[in-house]
């Protein structure tokens, strides 16, 4: 017994010099694969472009109203801003397919066929020497596996995204600013008739254009392969 304890102590001591498991090796849930939007809620705000000026259920601030009422999709298209409604604060609500893969051991990558966007969810602290990046539609996302409680020890993926280019929460021009941040939790659930569901809980905070956090929770069904993958470019008008 004493020898066993001594061995364990030695092993633990040796582990101090060992490499930390990568995010991929430590992944408690497997999010990789192809997923398709299953649009059973917010249908009128997602599957078609809502009327200009409508922002129901979004806690828009007074500062957002002139932008909402002045939305001009043709001008956006001409200015090369056709991806404004495909940014990180909106993309998971855009009907389409996700392809989730490990880009490397500590970067989970999400490609979307709608708008052909790529999100890179980076685990671990950014290197201190990293140069500040310009803002972008998908911003910079830091990810971590977040243990949840329960007798079987579940886990969730938590992602925080910032450094965003200003964009739209909905196709009809309800804005978010460059100061917005997006906090997401990715959870899995079984479907009763078999298959898997990906639930993404999204909280958008924006001190400029929102009076309160904007919370949505789109969900996706897992698909066996990428045979229905259909990349389409961003569009301001659809």
């Amino acid at each position: 017994m004493t020898r066993a304890i001594a061995s364990l102590v030695l092993l633990l001591a040796a582990s101090a010099n060992a490499q930390t498991p990568s995010a991929r090796d430590a992944a408690p849930i497997d999010l990789t694969g192809y997923w398709v939007s299953y649009v059973t809620e917010n249908w009128r705000y997602r599957m078609v472009t809502p009327p200009k000026g409508e922002y129901r259920r979004i806690p828009a601030s007074p500062a957002a109203l002139p932008l909402i009422n002045g939305w001009d999709p043709v001008a956006d298209e001409k200015a090369g801003n056709q991806c404004k409604s495909f940014g990180a604060a909106a993309i998971m609500n855009v009907p389409g397919r996700l392809h989730i893969t490990w880009q490397d051991a500590n970067t989970l990558r999400i490609d979307t066929d709608a708008g052909t966007q790529t999100r890179r969810l980076r685990f671990g602290a950014a290197p201190a020497t990293a140069k500040p990046q310009p803002s972008s539609w998908q911003g910079e996302s830091s990810a971590q596996w977040e243990p949840t409680s329960g007798t079987e020890g579940g886990s969730s993926l938590r992602v925080v995204t910032s450094n965003l280019r200003a964009g739209y929460l909905r196709k009809n021009g309800v804005p978010y600013s460059e100061r917005a941040s997006v906090t997401e939790h990715f959870d899995l659930a079984p479907l009763p008739q078999g298959g898997q569901l990906l639930l993404v809980n999204i909280v958008v905070d924006d001190p400029v254009y929102l009076n309160a956090p904007y919370v949505t929770s789109p969900h996706f069904k897992k698909e066996p392969d990428g045979s229905k993958w259909d990349p389409t470019p961003c569009s301001s008008t659809w």
Binding site: A14, G53, D187, L199
Partner: protein, 307 residues
């Protein structure tokens, strides 16, 4: 070489395994706190209950669609139906928050059940956590149904069966039958609980209806327990049950025209729930005119008829 192999490859695996065992042991007694008052956040449109024929986001069978179109809202004015309630699914589809509490066994202090308090028009939900068996299929079916739960993968997972025929998955008239089941998952992330509801019904739904809705922990207690008191609403006892004969629903096109929506989407055809449908209607969709009233957050619900 051997030492390097041990320290770099084998030891981390062993340590990770030990940590997982220790973590798992601590989790066994650390389910999240479900009891409390959870206020609705209200930023998602899961309710669709303001205009009569709005089946957006549902995958209906032909029978389900026919039954839904036969429904007349005046049924709820019948004295005997006013306090009928809306069935188990309304807990997440309705506009209110969740007031959850735990009931424990005084001898063991283990949780026997969780309850979510009722509202005036909802019968509440009891989630049995003590492993009791499900009743016979011939046992009483009620609006609330019978629900058992367990902790699974960090979530509270539950299943409701024994639902009384005549409940609703959509207040605009889409029913559930007594063959329906509802699978629930409650996820907690910080002060937010997200409820995932998956309703299946082989008679009404081609594919399950999946709804997720988030609630935030309220700093003050919520209380929605208002008794339902029936009163005269224009229907005399003994009157017939208001309904529309097939093809005679006068509101069949109202919602569709109001928002320039495709008919098959409003009527709950299954293909309308997938991205391919969005591409299919791109060339033909005519956007509605700009919003002029009740456009913002305060106008959370779609406009009601003014008659």
């Amino acid at each position: 070489m051997l030492i390097d192999l041990v320290t770099r490859r084998i030891v981390p695996v062993i340590v990770l395994g030990l940590l997982m065992v220790l973590l798992g042991a601590s989790r066994a007694s650390a389910q999240f706190e479900f009891s409390g008052s959870w206020a609705p956040i209200g930023t998602e449109d899961v309710q669709n209950d303001s205009l009569p024929v709005d089946y957006l986001g549902l995958a209906l069978t032909d029978e389900g669609r026919t039954r839904a179109l036969a429904y007349d809202e005046s049924q709820k004015s019948m004295m005997e139906r006013q306090c009928q309630g809306w069935g188990a699914a309304y807990g997440v589809l309705g506009p209110f928050g969740l007031v959850a509490s735990a009931q424990t066994d005084p001898a063991t202090n283990r949780v026997v059940s969780y309850t979510i308090d009722s509202w005036e028009d909802w019968n509440g939900l009891t989630i049995w956590m003590d492993g009791r068996p499900r009743p016979s299929q011939y046992a009483l079916h009620t609006q609330a149904g019978f629900t058992t739960g367990r902790w699974e993968g960090g979530a509270l997972a539950a299943r409701t069966t024994h639902i009384k025929a005549g409940g609703f998955i959509r207040k605009t008239g889409v029913p559930l039958t007594d063959q329906a089941t509802i699978d629930w998952r409650f996820y907690r992330h910080g002060d937010v609980i997200t409820v995932l509801m998956i309703a299946s019904d082989p008679v009404i739904l081609v594919e399950p209806e999946i709804v997720s809705k988030s609630f935030r922990l309220s700093p003050r207690p919520l209380d929605y327990r208002t008794p339902c008191v029936p009163g005269y609403e224009g229907r005399e006892p003994g009157d017939g049950v208001p309904h529309f004969a097939p093809g005679q629903n006068p509101f069949a096109d109202e919602f569709m025209k109001f928002y320039s929506l495709p008919r098959e989407a409003v009527l709950g055809y299954p293909e309308t729930l997938y991205p391919e449908y969005r591409k299919k209607i791109r060339a033909t969709y005519v956007p509605p005119p700009p919003c002029k009233e009740a456009c913002g957050q305060a106008g959370n619900f779609v406009r009601r008829r003014e008659n």
